[in-house]
């Protein structure tokens, strides 16, 4: 169970014009603006639910994920995930979550994937029997096989993403955060990743929170969407709320963004 209530987060952003002289001016006097990355965000997600968390770039998606995973501390508001506050009980909390940042790797660049997995086993103190079982299952479901013996730097993006997802599930997390998991993937890899997420959610009842810009991901995976824009929750409902009256979800979404001026 995830509950987020009235969460606010602001950042300081310094702005300046391009060019050397304005860079020099900024050195002497910096103009700062406060950006409300999250403004009174509240929602509840039940166990085993699969939720698409969408919004334009800079809307506050990543900030929310970072708060939910205990990386950032909000200025205001409360957050309870299975009875724990992420930023206060960080260590206890992160044992139960898996996080995949689509654009960053958690695998070691120069060693075979298997070695990275072994290290994760140590970090999460995974019981050897559980580890072996999970590894077998994940290898099978994501068809990792040979990939495990390849150094990460020699994997293709799609292969790497499959390994990333496996890496974040070795410790049996109850909640999985996927931050743009299909970004840059080819059609085959995308489908493989989607299939896997569906199976994971159905078989293990893992709660999945997914951020993406790919509407096909959302259509294939989630029934519920939460839409955020300029730090505010604008919609908490189903995909049809957006698609209605448009040819594709993409167009519906674009029109929704425009009408809310985000």
């Amino acid at each position: 169970m995830i509950t987020l209530e009235n969460v606010c987060k602001t950042y300081k952003v310094s702005r300046r014009d391009a060019g050397f002289s304005s860079a020099f001016k900024a050195l002497l006097h910096r103009r700062c603006e406060l950006i409300h990355a999250l403004d009174n965000v509240s929602f509840t997600i039940a166990d085993g639910e699969m939720v698409g968390y969408i919004g334009p770039n800079g809307a506050g998606k990543s900030s929310t994920i970072k708060i939910l995973s205990g990386i950032l501390t909000p200025e205001e508001g409360t957050c309870q995930i299975n009875g724990l506050t992420p930023w206060k009980n960080r260590i206890e909390h992160v044992k139960n979550i898996g996080v995949v940042f689509g654009q960053r790797t958690q695998l070691w660049w120069d060693v075979p994937v298997m070695d990275s997995f072994e290290l994760l086993k140590e970090i999460y103190r995974i019981d050897p029997a559980v580890y072996r079982r999970n590894l077998e299952e994940l290898t099978d479901m994501l068809s990792l096989g040979e990939l495990l013996r390849t150094p990460t730097r020699q994997l293709s993006l799609g292969q790497r993403m499959r390994c990333e997802i496996a890496a974040s599930l070795l410790h049996d997390p109850k909640i999985l955060f996927l931050d743009e998991p299909t970004i840059g993937l080819d059609a085959v890899s995308k489908l493989a990743v989607r299939d896997f997420i569906l199976k994971l959610n159905a078989e293990k009842k893992t709660t999945v929170i997914l951020t993406t810009h790919d509407m096909q991901d959302i259509e294939a995976l989630t029934s519920r969407i939460i839409l955020i824009g300029k730090g505010k929750i604008l919609l908490d409902g189903v995909i049809d709320d957006i698609r209605e009256g448009f040819e594709s979800t993409e167009e519906g979404l674009a029109s929704f963004y425009r009408s809310h001026d985000i």
Binding site: Y11, S62, K66, S69, G70, I71, L72, T73, R90, I91, E92, V94, K95, I97, V99, F101, Q103, R104, Q106, W108, W109, D110, V111, D115, E118, L119, E122, I123, Y124, R125, P151, D179
Partner: protein
């Protein structure tokens, strides 16, 4: 500790892929500090004493300081490169893992090319001890061990401060190198030769004198016996360093995704 060991093996596995690069940087690291030795050597060919310290005494001082620094560097290197860890968002990854943050940062970067420097430090250390003409007793040997411990802690503390500043600036500040690499360079001579002010600063603010000058006086039979215990007091320096680190952690705003 077991986890640190695992990370150690991982780093070892990683660099084994780049053999030539590894050997060359080992050699480079070795030569850099050898340079400093030559500097001392040639200076003493012109002047036989510096502020009452002889060539062999300075060598002893430098050998110990260099080894203190190198030990700290070998273990706490992760803090030294912490700026890039924060900027590239790797720190987020550290935070989503159920382990102590400091332990993870420590194990994040272990540089084996520093082996060159460690070797150099050990050679200088042994050389300094042989040349010093000190009549070694058990008490003095223990004093050296305490110096190494205290020194490693103080230098590690400087690395922690350096890293904590990254939370605020997102970048390591070059001026902090005055206190890390700079201190190693100045540390080749007993702190007292830089004058009374510097000695005071290094006693009460950043406790370099406690790990170098005072216990050295004891080794050379010029100081009181309790000087030998001062490096232990210097370990307290770690406390404000860790407090600053905690403050920085609270201030942390992660880099965009």
């Amino acid at each position: 500790m077991r986890l640190y060991g695992k990370f150690f093996v991982m780093h070892l596995k990683s660099i084994m892929g780049y053999k030539t690069s590894f050997l060359l940087s080992c050699l480079g690291n070795f030569l850099v500090s050898f340079n400093v030795f030559l500097g001392i050597h040639f200076m003493f060919r012109r002047f036989s004493r510096v502020e009452g310290f002889t060539y062999s005494e300075v060598l002893l001082c430098w050998g110990i300081t260099l080894l203190e620094f190198t030990l700290a560097e070998a273990f706490a290197r992760g803090f030294d490169t912490f700026g890039s860890v924060v900027r590239q968002g790797e720190f987020d990854r550290i935070l989503v893992r159920p382990r102590n943050v400091i332990l993870q940062v420590l194990s994040g970067h272990i540089e084996f090319s520093r082996i060159g420097r460690v070797l150099q430090a050990i050679v200088m250390f042994v050389f300094g001890i042989r040349m010093s003409g000190v009549r070694w007793t058990t008490a003095k040997a223990a004093a050296v061990a305490v110096m190494l411990l205290g020194g490693a802690v103080v230098f590690a503390g400087m690395f922690v401060i350096y890293a904590a500043i990254c939370f605020f600036t997102l970048e390591g500040l070059e001026f902090m190198n005055i206190f890390t690499d700079g201190a190693r360079e100045y540390g080749k001579y007993p702190v007292s030769i830089y004058g009374k002010r510097v000695l005071q600063l290094c006693t009460f603010v950043v406790p370099y004198a406690l790990i170098q000058y005072y216990p050295l006086l004891y080794l050379l039979d010029r100081g009181k016996p309790w000087y030998a215990l001062l490096p232990l007091a210097a370990c307290l320096f770690m406390v404000p360093c860790l407090l600053l680190w905690r403050l920085g952690m609270r201030h942390y705003v992660s880099a965009g995704s």
